[in-house]
């Protein structure tokens, strides 16, 4: 099977993730879209690893997973805290930075 197809899939997933981050308001959904983008990147790494015939890409993918896991912990904690204080998980309600 042509390796390029994996890259197309990766690009498609990344785009879906990016669009989701930009247009969705629900923090959980935004968060999942970020995960989607990370995993799209992971898919690219793994594909390139396969194309180049070495393990560098796969190692980076593992690093990404570790970082993503940490991010999930911190991110969910923030979302839960915001939900507790504002009774809302909409990212548009958390716009204090403007003021």
């Amino acid at each position: 099977m042509n390796s390029a197809n994996y890259l197309y899939l990766s690009a498609l997933l990344f785009t879906i993730g990016a669009v989701g981050v930009v247009i969705r308001r629900n923090a959980i959904v935004v968060f999942m879209c970020v995960e989607l983008m990370l995993n799209a990147a992971n898919l690219s790494f793994v594909t390139f690893s396969r194309i180049n015939g070495n393990l560098d890409g796969q190692i980076v993918a593992f690093f990404t997973m570790v970082v993503a896991a940490c991010e999930v912990v911190v991110g969910l904690a923030i979302i839960v805290t915001i939900y507790r204080s504002r009774r809302s998980a909409s990212v548009d309600d958390a716009n204090l930075l403007k003021r």
């Binding site: 990016a18 981050v21 930009v22 247009i23 969705r24 308001r25 935004v30 990212v91 548009d92 958390a94 716009n95 204090l96 930075l97 403007k98 003021r99």
Partner: protein, 630 residues
């Protein structure tokens, strides 16, 4: 010869001034006594030093005292040293002698003033600064005293500065003096740049080797300085307004001593002027113009002090004229300075005495018939009057006659012009002084009912009497055996006799001068005795009289030539400052604020828009890299 007494001349009044200024109200009770005592002790030291000088042979009479090394930078060495020679001692005795008399007078004159202690502190400060001026052995030391008397003059003119016009008069005097001071500082700089020294002795030694151009430049700068301090044309306008100060101040500073500093400066710098004929010519021109200017202004003044001030200006014009005539004239300039110190100080004190009895009225048209009420003032003022118009054997006759004679003998057309100016001035002097006498002391009484003229107390008339004696005798004493001329010979180069051909024999000149004086007196008598004197200045007078009443338009000219263009320059500079410089500074700020407020609009606070921006940015970078590497 050295003497370590000279410094006490200056130190005593300076210390007294400091004590009076620093001790506050506690000193109010005895402040005037300390001030008078300080001035009198300074006179005592001066008199003792004078006797010491007399005991020495002629060549060894000059005394010096080095106080400390003042400036010591590379080749520029200036000591704070004092020089007491035959010229300085004349001034020392005049300043401290007349000064002490005026201190005594002021005790009584200022007795009702709450600030009498401060007044005496300033008077002492003036005495100290004036002594430093005449005792300094270099132009730089002189400069310190020169500025000091300017300060004291400013403080004393504006002594009653609760009146805004008086404060303005003080400022006017100060500013016009600054113009002159600029001349003096430039003269010092040129002297140092070209000769490498600023001491009198050093410059006297270096002057013959210096170029005429340099000496002329220094001479002109010194003349500007002298014109500023001595109220000579074209810097004369401040003296009339300076009469805002208390009358003793006018007598001491603006008649007898400070205003004669210009004559001292020119006489002291004789080695420069004698080698710079152009500068010397300018000196006589300035002197001749001022002596006529002052005399003409004096004819139309109704304010007794301003009339005397105009007369002072005119008499100093005579001195400057004499000093500008070179070695033949220096001694006569100093002689007229000394006799003038007596009679003009005496007359100012007389004017003060009249004002004292007349509720501080200065308008002579409101006087009249005061002879009966103030006999002592009348006699002392009258003696001063006879002295100033030059009636023999009073002091002014000797000194002024000598100047007229010397001017006439200056040679050629110059001599005739200067001599006629001096003679005409003498006639004008006789006219305006007779006018002052008639308006004040004779005729009918024109004062208001609330005035109660009375004779002044002894503390006031005694100094007037002593000065009147000086006005009678001094001229005779100075000329007996050419005493003053020989006394000053070591300082100002002696003049060779028979150098100039005499235009007219002395006796004819004296006769001519007396005739002109008599004409002046007769005109005044015809105008003010034969006709009744109006107690308000008449309005229907000729255009010429109106111009003279406005001091020959001196203020109008100064305002048109210097003040308005100066103000216009300032205004345009302010506009440039506001529009260009401030515009640039404010423009930078406005630009930062404007761009900031535009950029702020991108900060929506929405996470989504930030992430979209990050995305767009990342995409743009990727696109950029792709385009570049393509």
């Amino acid at each position: 010869m050295t003497s370590n007494l000279i410094v006490y001349l200056i130190a005593i009044p300076l210390l007294s001034s400091a004590v009076l200024l620093l001790s506050g109200r506690k000193a109010n009770k005895w402040g005037h006594l300390l001030g008078t005592l300080a001035s009198a002790s300074s006179f005592g030291v001066g008199a003792y030093l004078f006797t010491q000088m007399l005991a020495q042979p002629t060549e060894e009479r000059a005394m010096t005292q080095k106080l400390f090394s003042w400036i010591n930078v590379g080749s520029f060495n200036v000591d704070a040293s004092l020089l007491l020679d035959q010229l300085s001692i004349c001034f020392v005795l005049l300043i401290t002698g007349v000064g002490t008399l005026i201190h005594i007078y002021s005790i009584s004159y200022m007795s009702h003033d709450l600030d009498r202690r401060r007044f005496f502190a300033y008077l002492n400060l003036f005495i100290a600064a004036m002594l430093l001026l005449v005792l300094g052995d270099s132009y730089l030391n002189l400069y310190v005293g020169w500025e000091g008397v300017g300060l004291a003059s400013y403080l004393l003119i504006g002594f009653w500065n609760q009146k805004p016009t008086y404060a303005t008069a003080a400022k006017k005097a100060f500013v016009m003096n600054r113009v002159g001071d600029l001349g003096l500082s430039l003269a010092i700089m040129i002297a140092f740049a070209s000769m490498g020294t600023v001491s009198f002795a050093g410059i006297e030694e270096a002057a013959p080797k210096a170029s005429t151009t340099t000496l002329t430049a220094i001479g002109i700068m010194l003349l500007i300085a002298a014109a500023g301090k001595s109220a000579q044309f074209p810097l004369q306008a401040w003296l009339g307004d300076a009469m805002a100060g208390p009358t003793p101040v006018s007598a001491l500073i603006h008649a007898a001593t400070m205003v004669t500093a210009g004559v001292y400066l020119i006489t002291r710098s004789n080695f420069i002027f004698d080698a710079a004929p152009t500068a010397q010519l300018l000196v006589v021109i300035v002197g001749a113009i001022t002596l006529l200017f002052g005399a003409i202004v004096g004819t139309a003044k109704d304010d007794i002090k301003k009339a005397l001030a105009a007369s002072t200006m005119s008499q100093i014009g005579y001195m400057i004229l004499a000093a500008g005539l070179g070695p033949v004239g220096y001694a006569f300039a100093i002689m007229h300075l000394l006799t003038h110190g007596f009679f003009k100080a005496g007359m100012f004190l007389g004017a003060g005495s009249v004002m004292h009895g007349m509720n501080d009225e200065v308008n002579m048209r409101k006087y009249g018939a005061l002879r009966k009420f103030m006999p002592i003032t009348f006699i002392t003022f009258g003696l001063g009057y006879l002295a100033i118009i030059g009636v023999p054997p009073f002091a002014g006759f000797y000194s002024k006659d000598m100047i007229i004679e010397t001017a006439l003998n200056a040679g050629g057309i110059k001599g005739i012009l200067l001599g006629s100016a001096a003679l005409f001035g003498a006639g004008l002097t006789a006219f305006y002084m007779t006018r002052v006498m008639i308006l004040t002391f004779t005729g009918t009484k024109r004062w208001d009912d609330e005035a109660h003229p009375h004779e002044s107390p002894i503390l006031m008339w005694l100094p007037m009497a002593i000065l009147a004696i000086g006005s009678v005798l001094s001229g005779f004493l100075f000329t007996r055996g050419d005493a003053l001329v020989h006394w000053l010979e070591p300082v100002v180069a002696p003049h060779e006799h028979g150098e100039h051909s005499e235009l007219l024999p002395p006796i004819v000149v004296s006769g001519l001068a007396l005739t002109i004086v008599l004409i002046g007196i007769s005109i005044a008598v015809m105008m003010y005795v034969r006709r009744p004197v109006a107690d308000v200045a008449p309005e229907n007078v000729s255009a010429l009289t109106k111009i003279v009443r406005q001091d020959l338009l001196q203020d109008v000219a100064n305002e048109a030539i210097f003040m308005r263009p100066g103000q216009a320059l300032t205004k345009s500079l302010v506009t440039i400052d506001e529009k260009v410089i401030d515009g640039a500074v404010h423009g930078v700020g406005a630009m930062a604020i404007g761009s900031g407020s535009e950029l702020r609009k991108t900060q929506t606070g929405y996470v989504r828009s930030y992430s979209a921006l990050i995305l767009v940015g990342a995409a743009a970078i990727v696109l950029g890299i792709w385009v570049i590497t393509q």
